[in-house]
């Protein structure tokens, strides 16, 4: 893969440091679950290795080395995802439905969706299930974890443990909201389920804040948190990253 000579030189000089570059591709670029805006020219700073990788993937068109004095002024502003984007990712999960129409096998880019026969259950992505439900062409079967007793057990387990317990589904919050808004007639005891999921969410968010607080107050270098879902990370990401930035700069004053 040939890179322009100026970029090669930049990469060799700034290996493992942050490099400011301009994104001139006209599509969203996803970096480790963060979506960068579609604006034409946005300056942001990335580790030079990922600039290299993004360049080779064709998603950015030029890397502009900016002088040291201005390097910090072009920091990435939009460091979090919208909750709507997390919901979009959640709609890829599979859910069981019972259609009331028949259709041959459909060949989509993301995969095949098997032949639909009325009355026979079939697995489809959530986005299709909601669409069919709104057109009154199917009946949605709630996922296994969306059951009052199971959620009560999970809630009690979550309250007992100090660490994060395994989640029913990596997108439990979004699926609850989507399915209970559109298909509450197919799900028994919908209100109780909503309350239970909210309880689990509140407990986990409280634990997350506690661990963020201990992370900062003890000035640790890294923390390992298992079983966190994307939505929970998303609510705290901007705040935590800004705080860590400030703490890093104040700490570099001490040396």
């Amino acid at each position: 893969m040939q890179f322009p000579p100026r970029f090669e030189k930049l990469y060799r000089k700034t290996k493992n440091k942050n490099v400011t570059c301009r994104k001139t591709a006209h599509n969203n670029v996803h970096f480790c679950d963060t979506a960068l805006p579609v604006d034409d020219v946005v300056g942001f700073s990335l580790p030079s290795l990922s600039v290299y990788a993004a360049f080779s993937a064709g998603t950015i068109c030029s890397a502009v080395p900016v002088g040291r004095k201005f390097l910090n002024t072009h920091t990435k502003k939009q460091t979090d995802m919208d909750p709507s984007e997390v919901e979009f990712l959640a709609e890829k999960e599979m859910v069981k439905i019972i259609p009331n129409f028949s259709l041959d096998k459909v060949f989509l880019i993301g995969g095949d969706l098997g032949p639909f026969n009325p009355g026979l259950p079939i697995d489809v992505p959530v986005w299709l299930a909601l669409n069919l439900k709104q057109r009154q062409k199917c009946r949605i079967i709630p996922p296994e974890w969306m059951d009052v007793e199971k959620l009560e057990e999970m809630r009690d387990l979550e309250r007992k443990e100090d660490m994060f317990t395994p989640v029913p589904s990596p997108y439990y919050m979004e699926l609850t909201k989507l399915l209970l808004n559109h298909a509450s007639d197919n799900i028994p005891k919908a209100d109780e389920i909503r309350t239970l999921v909210k309880d689990i969410w509140d407990t986990r968010i409280a634990k997350l804040r506690l661990s963020a607080d201990s992370f900062i107050s003890q000035q640790e270098a890294y923390a390992k948190l298992d079983n966190l879902t994307l939505m929970e990370i998303n609510t705290i990401r901007a705040f935590l990253l800004d705080t860590l930035n400030c703490m890093y700069k104040l700490r570099s004053n001490v040396q």
Binding site: T73, D82, D213, A238, K249, V254
Partner: protein, 211 residues
């Protein structure tokens, strides 16, 4: 998505200021007490208290930060800077005892920023100042996080008034995370609303223009 029409440059928190940041420009207007180490000929008009032509050696004046940084030189002593009250021994013990009690907005709205800039002036107490800044920030973090993540749809002026400018920026980013999540949960995220850019420019609707 809530995009802004421009991205404001954030202030540099450490010893480097961001040239284009408005917060840093305002910070550099803070006045510092200094003592001149040599005479400033024919600049007597700057010093209102005495009516001499020159500013003699050893005068105590107040100069803004941008001027002090420009005049300060380690080898040729032009000015020597005294620490403002907040960064001296007395206040440092207050901060180490309980930082949450202090009203940082009153102590100069740019406590952390000015403190970091003071480290340029080679005072012998620099390590302690830097350490106090860091410890104060860490101790006040908990309260900022709790108040920003829990105050939804209420008047936050009482929570914010005792915060330094840096902490106010953190409070705002915490609030934006919270507001985004809550509005998504209520279902407002999927409602189409007019973009803030359009509202700012106040485009006239065609029904208003036509008679």
């Amino acid at each position: 998505m809530d995009t802004q029409s421009y991205f404001p440059v954030p202030p540099g928190v450490g010893m480097e200021e961001n040239f284009l940041s408005l917060d840093d420009i305002l910070l550099s207007h803070e006045r510092l007490p200094i003592r001149t180490e040599c005479t400033f000929p024919r600049l007597g008009f700057l010093e209102k208290s005495s009516d001499t032509q020159d500013i003699p050696e050893g005068t105590k004046m107040e100069l803004p930060l941008w001027l002090t940084k420009g005049l300060y030189e380690r080898k040729r002593k032009v000015v020597s800077v005294e620490l403002p009250k907040v960064y001296r021994e007395g206040w440092r013990t207050v901060f180490s005892a309980d930082p949450n009690v202090v009203d940082l907005h009153k102590m100069g709205p740019y406590y952390y920023g000015l403190g970091s800039q003071m480290l340029h002036f080679d005072s012998p107490e620099n390590p302690e100042i830097a350490q106090t800044l860091l410890q104060t920030f860490i101790a006040r973090f908990r309260r900022t996080m709790d108040s920003s993540q829990n105050a939804y749809n209420e008047d936050t002026s009482a929570l914010v008034e005792r915060l330094d400018c840096l902490e106010k920026a953190l409070f705002r980013s915490g609030q934006s995370g919270l507001n985004g999540f809550q509005s998504w949960e209520k279902g407002q995220a999927s409602q189409l609303t007019a973009s803030s850019l359009v509202l700012n420019y106040r485009k006239r609707k065609i029904t208003d223009v036509q008679p």
